[in-house]
């Protein structure tokens, strides 16, 4: 199987009704509802190969979750074709459901007042997992996610991080080949986010799973995905490597210098745009092609202690894409 996920001209429109606040508004909307069509996803196409990890980026309300829900079969597309592992998601065939999972960081599927193991047992029966497979998967997940101390505690008594690990385990018991992850690390502390990332990378490597993931934490995406999809207002505005996006949106680099004596802005302006400066430190914005030349000139002209050349932070680039509408 070459393309594991294939989306062609997918559109998903909602009709939502508007209600003014207050009693008068309620009354008015009772008699004459005003409807509006929201184009949550508007004509997007992409393919994802088997075993790929792809980051799905976009501001709140861009259409990420809607796309994931369509792909996992929860939503019916308004128009367009989708195929996931050879199935049309929205038919929700058992065979399809056994091959995928959807994790929503903001929601929980575990039974609140029972230990996570009880929810696992239910999933085992529902997904028809044999006892021996179940034990093997459970052992693997327990080792990778360090679940041992938490499996027998009531879910409501777990910390957010512990609960999220259990949620992830519950979602992976049937060893799905395609993972849709919607903000899987939301609310977790930095260490736990790191653990989650390592786990997903390992899962991908071991089982060749295809992963499509959304996150507001850029570190998740840069650590896991070489390729990203960027969506805004329902439109796919970028599909490609993170590196290429950086080059395209930010055709410049940051040259950071540390000097031995205090310097003033006037001394630096001829080398490039001054992004920030302090008495002994400054950062310049320099076109990509000129960075080495500029660095050499700087070394000649000023008492330089240290020079570093780096790409602008991906966060900064992404936020520029959305605020300055660079790609649209």
């Amino acid at each position: 199987m070459n393309a594991d996920i294939s989306v062609t001209r997918l559109c998903k429109y909602y009709r939502v009704h508007h209600k003014e606040p207050g009693f008068a508004g309620s009354l008015r909307s009772f008699f004459a509802r005003r409807y509006e069509t929201v184009r949550a996803v508007d004509d997007i196409s992409f393919e994802i190969r088997s075993g790929e990890i792809v980051g799905f980026l976009g501001p709140n309300g861009a259409g990420k979750t809607t796309t994931l829900k369509v792909l996992s079969g929860l939503l019916y597309p308004t128009t367009g074709d989708i195929s996931v592992g050879g199935h049309r998601s929205y038919d929700r065939k058992d065979q399809f459901l056994r091959g995928i999972t959807l994790v929503m960081g903001q929601k929980n599927q575990l039974i609140w007042d029972l230990p996570a193991l009880e929810s696992f047992e239910i999933n085992r029966a529902i997904f028809d997992i044999s006892r021996s497979d179940y034990l093997a998967v459970l052992k693997e997940l327990t080792d990778l996610l360090d679940l041992d101390p938490v499996l027998k505690k009531q879910v409501r008594k777990l910390s957010l991080g512990e609960r999220m690990k259990c949620e992830l385990a519950a979602a992976l018991l049937h060893r799905p080949k395609v993972l849709f992850l919607d903000e899987p690390t939301i609310g977790l502390d930095v260490t736990m986010q790191g653990r989650m990332r390592e786990f997903l990378a390992e899962y991908n490597k071991r089982h060749g799973a295809t992963i499509l993931l959304t996150s507001h934490y850029m570190a998740d995406v840069t650590a896991l995905c070489r390729r990203i999809l960027v969506i805004d207002h329902g439109h796919l505005i970028y599909d490609g490597a993170i590196d290429a996006l950086v080059e395209r949106v930010a055709p410049y680099k940051h040259v950071r210098i540390v000097t031995r004596r205090p310097i003033i802005a006037g001394e630096l302006e001829r080398f490039g745009e001054v992004l920030s400066m302090d008495t002994l430190e400054a950062t310049l914005v320099v076109p990509r092609d000129h960075t080495s030349g500029v660095a050499a000139e700087l070394l000649k002209a000023l008492p330089i202690e240290d020079v570093t050349i780096e790409d602008p932070a991906v966060e900064e680039i992404i936020s520029r894409i959305f605020t300055e509408k660079i790609l649209t």
Binding site: Y14, L102, Q109, I122
Partner: protein, 264 residues
Amino acid sequence: MNALRKFAAEYKAAWHLAIEYRLAVLIWMVSMVLPLVMLAGWLSIAEGGPVGRFGRTDFIAYYVAAILVRNLTGVWIIWDLDAAIRHGDMSFMLLKPYNPIIHYVAQSLSAKPLRFIVLLPLIAGVAYFVPGVNFALSPSMLALFFLAIAGSWAMLFLIQYTNGLLSFWISQTIGIADMWFGIFALFSGYLIPLDLFPPALRNALFAMPFRYMASFPIEIFTSHLAVTEILRGLLIQWAWVLVFFVVYRLVWTRGVKQYSAVGA
């Protein structure tokens, strides 16, 4: 077979939850005092002589049976179902290769054994100590009684489940359920024996599904029906179950389509 195994797993978890919430179950049971209130009223009326075919002993037997039947057939899943649909947790169930009704059936049946065990002393006490009470306790009658209990539960379950599925479209399903409970309590024989209604109304209620939701098993348990009447009643009752099942299927398939169209 497959669905049965899935049900068994769901039931096990639901049973553990019922044990976890055992105190709440007991409080719920104690709070079901409506039949007792009715009983107190009828007892004082019956002091002046029997009402229809009901003397004081008949009323006691009837309402004790009503408490038993209500505990074994009552369905209280609509709050969970409504919340699951409107808050989007139904999504998790739809992502699994099974029909979510299995989950709710398990949930609805989970506390039944607990309720039954708690009520046993009451039944035994009344059967033993109240002279003239004649519960149908022979094994064959009990078997028929439990078939009727299963039928009543199935009707009430399908009605409430289908009612809850309306949450796919509207946000007032629980209001409908409250209204429905009033109608049910009045016309099913739960609060007023149907034999005490004016004959025309009684016959109308017998022709409608209401009798089979509570009165029918109560009539069996209080030894009011002959075996042939019971068998005939079971046939009619399970025909109603089938009708409500068909309605549920229609609403379910349309509801899921609606859910997939607009999301949670």
